[in-house]
């Protein structure tokens, strides 16, 4: 499951950035592949829909761009939220 989550995140990222799936890894920095705040909103929406989770906003609007720096950050948050959901349901 864990690996599957990582793969789905990478799929979603590759789709939105239109970069070859093989070229994105967990270490890829989001801003290096052109993910701006607007694209991030679309990516978050798709991940929320796919995993039926709700990814919260940071406390301040200005922190939005710093919330996720690498693909690994996204994968970690998604995994945590999925686990939380499984333990509460």
């Amino acid at each position: 499951m864990s690996e599957e989550i990582g793969n789905i995140v990478l799929d979603v990222l590759a789709k939105h950035t239109q970069i070859d799936r093989e070229k994105v890894t967990l270490e890829t920095r989001l801003n290096s592949v052109g993910v701006d705040s607007l694209m991030m909103v679309e990516i978050i929406f798709e991940l929320e829909e796919r995993f039926d989770i709700s990814i919260p906003d940071p406390e301040f609007a200005g922190q939005q761009n710093k919330q996720f720096e690498t693909v690994a950050d996204v994968v970690r948050v998604v995994k945590e939220l999925i686990e939380q959901q499984q333990t509460t349901s």
């Binding site: 701006d36 705040s37 607007l38 909103v41 978050i44 929406f45 709700s54 906003d57 406390e59 301040f60 609007a61 200005g62 939005q64 761009n65």
Partner: protein, 405 residues
């Protein structure tokens, strides 16, 4: 070129049901933002808005009319009724033909649209016969025309959060061109609805507590509702009847970013401000106060700050810049009109309204935002900015009347 002045004002917003209450609360720095009361917010992330309070349309409008009039048109009518009464104009006879109505809205009859769609998806076989007439974005302009017997050029403008800025600009240009002597202009919005709030949540630009423009710890925008109406009149017409004159509308600037549906562009904002200054033929140094677009999103506030620096250079540091959205919320299609009234209040009272809810400066936003407390100061010229989604911008430039300079 004909000079155009403001001879009447009316508004309804989270800061009260008329202009007196609006200006009093505005200058006190009182915020009208609070928990949403019109519908259940249990499942929503965003639970605050700047709603019009203590409002019950059913006691203000006859039952027969209520079936035909959406909340946004109710607001448009109430603001216009106040403005026309305030102007002392008798819009009858020949003047009814020489008067224009240009009233903007971002979305129009949103609550009608949502409740009708809900009924259909729930299996309803029919909708109220006036559904179409309630929800059309031009309904507000039509109601103003019908209620006050105005038969000159009448239409609505729509450009998201600059809708009423474009309305006021259109009215000004028609009057300069001699097509009307008087205009009832402004805008209205009533989209604090479950569907709209949900849609805005998706953009992740919404504050969960309150609106803190230009503040480092700003959390985003807060949706508001209401309407604002200005009575514009040619100076000669106003003088001939000895009208009270609030201010002169000396210039408008309009521009498009041609960039992105959501993200703002400093260059587009700067071009709108420069266009307003050019239209009025005044130098940037003449501007004392700016009512900023100031939505309190991560993107807008630094971008608008950058644009103000670009236009005003070293004078930018001497301008009082405030966002009154911190008090009346972001009223979308009504915002340019409400904020034009705020700018005119500043000119008349010689007090810059504050940016409320301000906690700490953001290094990216380094202008004088008049934090939390209104400031008595000399204000001869005031600019009001609106930079809409889709990159559609307006800047309105008002001068004190009679001017001292």
């Amino acid at each position: 070129m004909k000079r155009i002045v403001v001879t009447g004002m009316g508004c309804i917003s989270a800061l009260g049901h008329d202009c007196n209450e609006f200006s009093r609360k505005l200058l006190r720095g009182e915020s009208g933002i609070g928990p949403i009361t019109e519908f259940d917010t249990e499942d929503l992330i965003v639970k605050v808005a700047a709603e019009v309070k203590d409002y019950d349309g059913s006691v203000l409008f006859p039952e027969k009319q209520l079936a035909q009039i959406d909340r946004f048109s109710q607001f448009a009518l109430l603001a216009s009724k106040e403005a026309i009464a305030d102007s002392g104009l008798d819009l009858k006879g020949r003047l009814s033909e020489r008067t224009a109505v240009v009233h903007g809205t971002g979305v129009g009859g949103q609550s009608t649209q949502e409740t009708s769609s809900y009924r259909i998806f729930e299996g309803a076989k029919r909708l109220h016969p006036f559904t179409v007439a309630r929800l059309m974005p031009s309904a507000g302009a039509s109601w103003i025309s019908m209620e006050f017997g105005i038969i000159g050029p009448t239409f609505a403008t729509t450009s998201a959060c600059a809708s009423s800025g474009h309305a006021i600009a259109m009215a000004l240009m028609m009057m300069r061109a001699g097509m009307a002597d008087v205009a009832v202009t402004g805008g209205s919005e009533a989209s604090v609805t479950a569907g709209t709030i949900r849609a805005w949540e998706g953009l992740r630009v919404m504050a969960k507590d309150t609106c803190r423009p230009f503040c480092r710890t700003r959390g985003g925008m807060v949706i508001g509702e209401g309407a604002g109406t200005l009575i514009l009149e040619t100076l000669e017409h106003a003088q001939a009847r000895g009208a009270k004159i609030y201010a002169e509308l000396i210039g408008v600037g309009m521009s498009a970013d041609a960039h992105n549906l959501i993200q703002p562009l400093a260059e587009g904002a700067a071009r709108a401000m420069r266009a307003a200054l050019d239209d009025a033929g005044v130098s940037p140094e003449a501007v004392d106060y700016i009512n900023a677009h100031g939505t309190a999103t991560a993107q807008n506030d630094p971008t608008e700050t950058e644009a103000i620096h670009a236009v005003f250079g070293s004078h930018a540091a001497r301008i009082a810049v405030s966002s009154t959205k911190s008090m009346h919320g972001h009223t979308l299609g009504a915002s340019s009109a409400l904020e034009a009234i705020a700018a005119i209040v500043a000119l008349n009272e010689q007090i810059a309204p504050p940016t409320a809810n301000f906690r700490e400066p953001d290094p990216q936003c380094d202008l004088d935002y008049v934090p939390n407390t209104a400031r008595p100061m000399h204000i001869e010229v005031a600019l009001s900015n609106s930079f809409a989604f889709g990159g559609l911008n307006t800047s309105l430039l008002f001068r004190r009347y009679p001017t001292k300079s």
